[in-house]
Symmetry: C3
Subunit: 321 residues, 3 copies
């Protein structure tokens, strides 16, 4: 009998990673501790381990993202998997083949794991429901819905620098409305017991329903980051900068850009995070991005280890009969 959570198998093991929402706390913690073991691998001269030797990982990026694709490719190759990058914009999809026909075909080529990035929210769920029982799906970002490996690497980063999730104040600043990163972070922080999660941004970029998720809404940056332990800055998409939702990039920076002065309102040892790529001078001042409180580059390094953890955990989950 299958469990109701589509991400877990009947043994409660991680079979797909589609969203942080609904993951048991024990699974989230297991991913973070598995990632710990891979951090050491990355520091060795020979960075590869044979855990996925002979397995095929397909990077299916229906939406272009060299950065995320590269981190998944590095993670899979460090695990010794055979990695195939499919730029779907230029392939069968353009010939009118449906997403599920493409998946069926690649499964017939003996794919073991699909890493799926798609502009439509929910596309990885559709794929996960469709694939054969031995195939795994990892969501690499779907529409505005979720970006679970980014959320997990953010948790790994926080855990690395802070003591205890249950004592933290975390501020997420920027375009919460359009951000799958924000959504995944909020779910992960809730699961890990963070008592104060703040969403900070102009009203036009804050979605409805935040209070119901236990999130405190702050429309002023000073209120939002005062006393925070962790500040997660979001990227402002270029298309928002001069759109209907915002007056201008300069105006945005004046109100929500993180400068050293603003950062001084947070706890003295607060850390600053950003999923990248950064718009320096728009959402973040270079003095902060390159400052001592910034952990933006360690996030990237941890991201490889977290993705290795996810890929190896789903691959080692027991097959159902």
């Amino acid at each position: 009998m299958l469990s109701r959570n589509p991400q877990l198998n009947a043994h409660g093991e991680l079979h797909h990673l589609l969203s942080i929402d609904g993951l048991p706390r024990a699974i989230v913690e297991r991913i973070l501790s598995t990632a710990d073991s891979f951090i050491n691998v990355a520091e060795r001269e020979v960075k590869n381990v044979p855990l996925l030797r002979g397995r095929s990982v397909f990077n299916l990026f229906f939406e272009n993202s060299t950065r995320t694709r590269t981190t998944f490719e590095i993670a899979a190759r460090r695990l010794s998997a055979d990695v195939f990058n499919l730029d779907i914009n230029r392939s069968s999809a353009a010939k009118g083949e449906s997403l599920l026909d493409t998946i069926d075909n690649l499964t017939a080529m003996q794919a073991d794991t699909f890493v799926v990035r798609h502009a439509s929210s929910g596309a990885p769920y559709l794929v996960a429901r469709h694939v054969a029982p031995h195939v795994h799906v990892v969501n690499a970002g779907d529409g505005r819905h979720a970006h679970p490996t980014q959320g997990l690497l953010d948790m790994y980063t926080i855990r690395h620098y802070e003591r205890d999730f249950t004592q933290l104040t975390v501020a997420i600043v920027g375009d919460i409305l359009h951000s799958r990163v924000a959504r995944s972070d909020i779910h992960a922080l809730s699961i890990l017991g963070v008592p104060e999660i703040r969403a900070v941004g102009p009203l036009t970029l804050l979605p409805a329903g935040l209070p119901e998720m236990g999130v405190r809404v702050c429309t002023r940056l000073d209120e939002g980051i005062r006393g925070a332990d962790v500040i997660i800055m979001l990227r402002l998409q270029n298309e928002r900068m001069s759109g209907a939702l915002l007056p201008s990039a300069a105006e945005y920076f004046r109100n929500y850009g993180l400068t050293p002065e603003k950062l001084a309102l947070a706890k003295p040892d607060a850390i600053v995070m950003h999923p990248g790529p950064m718009n320096r001078g728009v959402e973040i001042d270079s003095a902060v991005a390159d400052g001592v409180q910034s952990v933006i580059l360690p996030q990237v390094t941890f991201g490889i280890a977290v993705r290795m953890a996810v890929l190896s955990m789903v691959a080692s989950s027991q097959r159902m009969h």
Copy 2:
């Protein structure tokens, strides 16, 4: 002394695979039986064998085809070859370098095998005539001329599900005129002794010369598939659907689309094949594509094994002196 068949060396071994036309039956059968041995490899957890370790396979796709390119890449990597994908549209060719200069340069980079896809019929022959004696060429589709690995995987599929080629009726349905798959299938079926090969489609999509090849021409679908053991549906290219050759996609489906009702005219255990990607609702009804008689996805799986067979056979042919 070179044999007259440009695909065979003086020992009669497969040196290039350019077309099924002209291959001895023993070579075709040897490819199919070699593929058998690789099917088992694919079912193991570790899918790689070291047959081509240290050899370089260059995928030269002058015409875009993610699907075919991926199957060759998987096949070559399962054999432990070093695979290099060259998207020639974006490279030297755009700088005005000739095809043969490109080939010479890649050979100078120690290429061992070229997998060539080209919009011009005959391009792989041109390459095969030009390369050094130790270099192999595999045709991955040239113009309207041939797609021999597709033809071979189709034969593998038929042999897997049916008993005896010499007892079969095989119907190929659709745009025969523009199909290199149809051409390769007809040659392969003839070589393997299939007594009744039928080409089924509207007159505007049937080439001249079929009867001379021993093919029975049927312009009505019911006549074409009645009593057939194997039905090979061809993809209708989008550009034909509303062109001068056809009234419309809907009209085409009404006359030549394979529905469960039409399929009932074939033998009860007839199999349905398609080279993909499918146009559901144009040449094939979803109820057939996903039905119990469809072997479309096994074709894809067999395609990997057949391509492994071809790549390993050409690489192990004896060098001429």
Copy 3:
């Protein structure tokens, strides 16, 4: 303490390869002799050596060049490195991320070596100054400035066919003004003690300052190649052929195209080189390109060995503390 030459570490070892200009003669000769050892590797059936196993080489091509990128990829994979190709035009750079932020991010993914191609002269220097001390940078062509691995493979080729650099006359023919290859060749030839270096081309395509570099300027082809031991033909960029600098491609060929008749003016055993891709009938006649004095294809083969030498030498330089 760092040495003043940004390419060398405090032990005088090659740490980055940015330009041939300023390299000690001993380093140039060490690269050529290291390449010798890899030529033999390429002739074995198994072409890979484990020197860079577990190391990550990132090909960062901000300017498209399938040919150069492929040669670096082959070289790195022959050394057993993990190679990642980043087509930066389509990635973060397009999202407005700065070059150095991209470099920082990839370094955080544990890149060991960056191979950088960029349209801006000096970009690889900028990267080299910025990266962490354990990271290496190899210039794969920057603007009009330098293409040091091409220069080195040209020296390897000359050394392979000629006896003694200190006895040679070398003519470089064509668009010297826009050619980073010419610039790298001139520096390398000077370092290796070539007594007569000639730059041959129309005045509009000759830069100022050549005599100061010890180069003899010749505006007539017959004067330029008379008595030469080595003739390096440059590619005429398509955009020059009908621009303000030249009347037409036909006119250029008449005056500067290398034909068998012109070649007869050089020494009888002179060799003809070209960095590719060639414009047959523009800068070089096919009878010369394919003639017995042409060493254009051996250049490509030697280029793999030279790039293996450079990648392995920088990777084995001692870390500074």
